[in-house]
Symmetry: C2
Amino acid sequence: MFSNKIVKSLEKSSWIRAMFEEGARLAKEYGAENVYDYSIGNPYLEPPKEVMEALRKYTSDEVKGVHRYMSNAGYVDVREKLAAKISEESGINISPENIIMTVGAAGALNVTLKALLNEEEEVILFSPYFVEYGTYIDNVGGKAVVIPTEKETFEPDLKILEEAINKNTKAIIINSPNNPTGVIYKEDKLKAMEEVLKRKEKELGIKIYVISDEPYSKIVYDGVKIPAVLGIFENAIVVNSYSKSLGLAGERIGYIGVSSKIEDGEILVSALAYCNRTLGFVNAPGLFQKVIGDSLDAAIDVNEYKIRRDYLYENLTRLGFEIVKPEGAFYLFPKALIEDDVAFVRAAQKYNILLVPGSGFGCPGYFRMSYCVTMEMIEKSIPAFEKLVAEFK
Amino acid sequence: MFSNKIVKSLEKSSWIRAMFEEGARLAKEYGAENVYDYSIGNPYLEPPKEVMEALRKYTSDEVKGVHRYMSNAGYVDVREKLAAKISEESGINISPENIIMTVGAAGALNVTLKALLNEEEEVILFSPYFVEYGTYIDNVGGKAVVIPTEKETFEPDLKILEEAINKNTKAIIINSPNNPTGVIYKEDKLKAMEEVLKRKEKELGIKIYVISDEPYSKIVYDGVKIPAVLGIFENAIVVNSYSKSLGLAGERIGYIGVSSKIEDGEILVSALAYCNRTLGFVNAPGLFQKVIGDSLDAAIDVNEYKIRRDYLYENLTRLGFEIVKPEGAFYLFPKALIEDDVAFVRAAQKYNILLVPGSGFGCPGYFRMSYCVTMEMIEKSIPAFEKLVAEFK
């Protein structure tokens, strides 16, 4: 009656959102304070003061013309400031023309894939991966090719990557700091990856675009420096959002940055602005474009997340969980205590602990915990984890 | 190299946007005050005071949690208020569950089409029509079927509609007050249309959904009352935005309202929320959802537009243009003085008048003027129109 494909998808819809609904149900039954909801990456921190000040500045009666249509690519003054900031941070010069303001990173990814892909062309994903990537690729008629990462580090396995590339390969999506593992890809790994890509491009006579999804780029611990993807890959397209770094997940504000080294890049940039319009985004929300332009040096307090990572990592490893220690984002991706991650997550629900099974990220046998939650909830959850572990001993 | 289809589309990209760019070029060359830009529906009026007050309320430090993720369908409290308002205005009861907050009407349309259509299913459009409808339908693999309206009124021709419906017909899009004609479809016409749809549904064993795109529903003149589509069509899906009625075009805030009479409506509503997420919108911008919830009784001053309509209609008919007098929206759709509307629009550019050819709306021989511009510009443009008319006498 409606779209058959969509109705079918509803039945196996995202685990993450299913947990979100289950959390609401449990909270109603047991009280929110007795539910340990690690299911969704919904930052509880309020935006930093720079954001709040900019919001007040642009909503005063003195400021006019903020809420109207602008170019589909976004306000020029904001793109100028952002280009300067990206150039400064990456050491790679990027011009305002190469930036498209978008409706979050999810919008940016859909726009980018639409502009790049022809029917049946392939996009390589490294599992575990953010499961919606698959849907976005399908939206534009492309084909997702999922390959595993190295189990000890969750970093890409370049041998498997090289084997997966064929003449239909159009792009790869990388996501570092990673959701769901929190792992940061090392500079050497990315440089070696570029060598593989260049070799295969030459061999097959194709171009392979590296779409780097970086919403967690500001959430990094222990002084680790994120390698600048724009400096490493010739065909780099960076997509980003301020959902996590400025606590603006519900406002849908992000951008696409196109490397100036991409051949015919000016056509790609036009195609991106066109797709931003015709996919129905039209433009990134105007007020928040202006706010971002004034808040480029701001970030939520990462130390808040570091405290949570350390506390959870310590306690869960003490309880016997195997975890690759994350250096960024606000996720842990421990190994489940039994092979069947879905059964394990169901077991955790009995103790009011909400987790997401690794299967939801194309990586069975693990589970994801999102720790952008209160310290109080984390502390109260440890006894519940102890009971859960006891069940499997 | 990139998507072939998109790169091709770039070449014949929207006339409206092309004019927007040409306007910027002319303004640079001759000074903005000497360019008469009637090309784009970008409301120059600032949002009403209710909106500004709500913006300041929700951006104070006292209000927390506004900027986070919420349900993909939007904030429940906002949907409750909106449902009450729609029920009051239409006389038809609509529940909060049947409302999905969206990234503008463009987002709403893409989400609705994605949720409804299977490959190759058809959507009927009445020309002249907002040209992006065709692209939205193509985005989800559907097929646009464009049929003409009655030339004297620009209202749907029901005989042609009946002939166009076949077993692949899934939906029709109506848009009243209409872009580009400003015409409002009469209640009798819509009721007769529903009779046609019901007859064909029965005959062919199909369901036909009526997608009513209503962003101009608050911009109505001469005390005309807009018929409530939710009351007339069993399978009504209303999409709307606050771009025009509250001067928030750049903020991308709108909604979908699903008739409670639609069979299996709860599945459709879930499908819409799912598509809102997976097409990359995720949710409508959070702050503006809250602002809308507090501004449901507000509207920009329609009288400002009425003055412009009257002034332009009077002067242009005096100069010899044939125009169906619009009762809503902020567009005029006069007949061009020569058959070739594109040539006519090019001729107008010589006098620094920017128009959009009717061809851009699937209706050659006419042109669109958007009069959401300053009175000063309108007044100064009349001598330029006089010169243009003289050229064709």
